[in-house]
């Protein structure tokens, strides 16, 4: 892995990370039409394509900002595979739609396959964690939000009007609760295998 060179298309990742409108526009102009075509040819609408593309770009942004994302393949292949995977998942969810998928291999690039797989796994985990976070009680949500926003546990305790020791203990119990919610979800086991 370490021998792999970063692809020149890394500029698109860096541009997304910097919220560079010019780059985002370029991605739409250059790479999006192909995705729209694909989705439309596979039982989707233009609106659905719009959502899939937007979600995919947000996932790429999140992965790049949190885990460092080094592109070792063309952005085109990586992006298309991600959108495709997301759309197929979407179709599976609403399986009343007739699925006509051309399973031709559009990209034989292994790097692209591998990277797209990593990113979509990352994205699905993020979605699951967010969903489970919403299931926590309000007290936990509030405490965790404060903890990670303010950083200093003393300040968190003061702002919530509890003792420092209690805030710290409560933090570990809330993350513990979240750990259990996540582990209990069938989706998590699916993703981890």
């Amino acid at each position: 892995m370490s021998e792999k060179k970063t692809h020149e298309d890394q500029k698109y990742i860096d541009g997304l990370l910097k919220n560079n409108s010019f780059i985002i526009q370029a991605i739409y102009d250059k790479f999006v039409p192909k995705v729209i075509n694909y989705i439309k040819q596979n039982s989707g609408s233009s609106d659905e394509a719009q959502d899939i593309i937007q979600d995919t770009l947000i996932t790429i942004y999140n992965q790049a900002s949190q885990k460092k994302l080094e592109l070792t393949c063309p952005f085109d292949a990586y992006f298309f595979l991600l959108c495709k995977r997301k759309w197929l998942n979407e179709l599976k969810k609403s399986s009343n739609k007739e699925v006509t998928i051309n399973e031709e291999v559009l990209y034989k690039d292994d790097d692209a396959q591998e990277l797209a797989f990593e990113t979509s796994l990352f994205g699905e985990k993020q979605a699951l964690f967010t969903e489970m976070f919403q299931k926590l009680g309000n007290a936990c949500k509030e405490l965790l939000t404060a903890t990670f926003k303010i950083k200093s546990m003393e300040e968190v305790a003061t702002s919530l009007g509890v003792s420092y020791a209690y805030a710290r203990k409560k933090k570990s119990l809330c993350i513990g609760k979240l750990t259990e919610l996540v582990q209990e979800s069938p989706k998590f086991n699916q993703l981890n295998n």
Binding site: I24, I58, Q66, F133, T147, F148, G176
Partner: protein
């Protein structure tokens, strides 16, 4: 896991455990797979929460910007469709569009040719009130595409008025049309050196002269010297793309 275990996780991560407790903790990680699994998930979630809240402001800014760009992109895509209503004349329009596209495609696929780019209009050399028969002859012949006759007239006219850039230019075009490239290119080179309004046009036609001779490399090099802002700049860029 018990509440105690989660408190232990946190203390371990914060480095708040005694040496003995750390050893005991690490031993348990190795022997108790459930314990280890929960600990790993606990770490993953801690880092998820940290990233989620720390990067929230930047992430929201990104998402808003993205939404705007996406919205306007898709609106542009939809726009022409909304105006579409099925009326009979639309079919005719559609058919001619298809025809046009196929012509354009066909042209794109074949090598570019001189005739597609030579873009001179009818000329008007005579000034109102001035009745020069020779000028009339040149003008009419050129506009009727009788370039041999036009060139004869230009030649005579240039004897009298050898520095007239307009005459030189149209004489050059006539010579290209007559496949007398050498003569044409001498005239064009002269114009390119000068400062007349035909300077940039002359570069464009010098390129076209090479195109007509199928000297594609030379044509390409010449096209690249056409300055931005020249009338034929856009046409030149398109031709460059085709030749490249």
């Amino acid at each position: 896991m018990q509440d105690q275990d989660y408190i232990l996780f946190e203390n371990y991560l914060l480095g708040n455990l005694s040496k003995e407790d750390v050893i005991a903790f690490e031993n348990r990680l190795e022997s108790d797979s459930k314990f280890k699994e929960s600990f790993n998930t606990y770490i993953e979630l801690t880092s998820f929460l940290k990233d989620k809240f720390e990067g929230e402001v930047a992430s929201n800014a990104f998402q808003n910007n993205l939404k705007n760009i996406s919205q306007s992109y898709f609106e542009k895509q939809e726009a022409p469709k909304k105006q579409m209503r099925f009326k009979p004349w639309l079919y005719a329009t559609a058919a001619s569009v298809v025809l046009l596209i196929s012509i354009v495609l066909f042209n794109n696929l074949s090598a570019p040719v001189y005739q597609d780019y030579a873009n001179y209009d009818s000329i008007s050399l005579t000034i109102r009130g001035e009745q020069d028969a020779l000028l009339h002859t040149a003008e009419n012949a050129f506009n009727n595409k009788d370039f041999a006759k036009a060139e004869e007239a230009f030649k005579s006219l240039m004897v009298l008025d050898k520095d007239n850039a307009e005459l030189q230019f149209y004489s050059a075009v006539s010579n290209i049309e007559l496949d007398k490239f050498e003569k044409a290119e001498i005239l064009l080179a002269n114009l390119i050196k000068g400062q007349s309004v035909f300077k940039n046009k002359a570069i464009w036609y010098l390129a076209l002269s090479n195109l007509k001779q199928k000297e594609f490399d030379d044509c390409l090099e010449i096209l690249k010297t056409i300055p931005e802002g020249a009338d034929d700049y856009d046409r030149a860029q398109k031709l460059i793309k085709k030749l490249d």
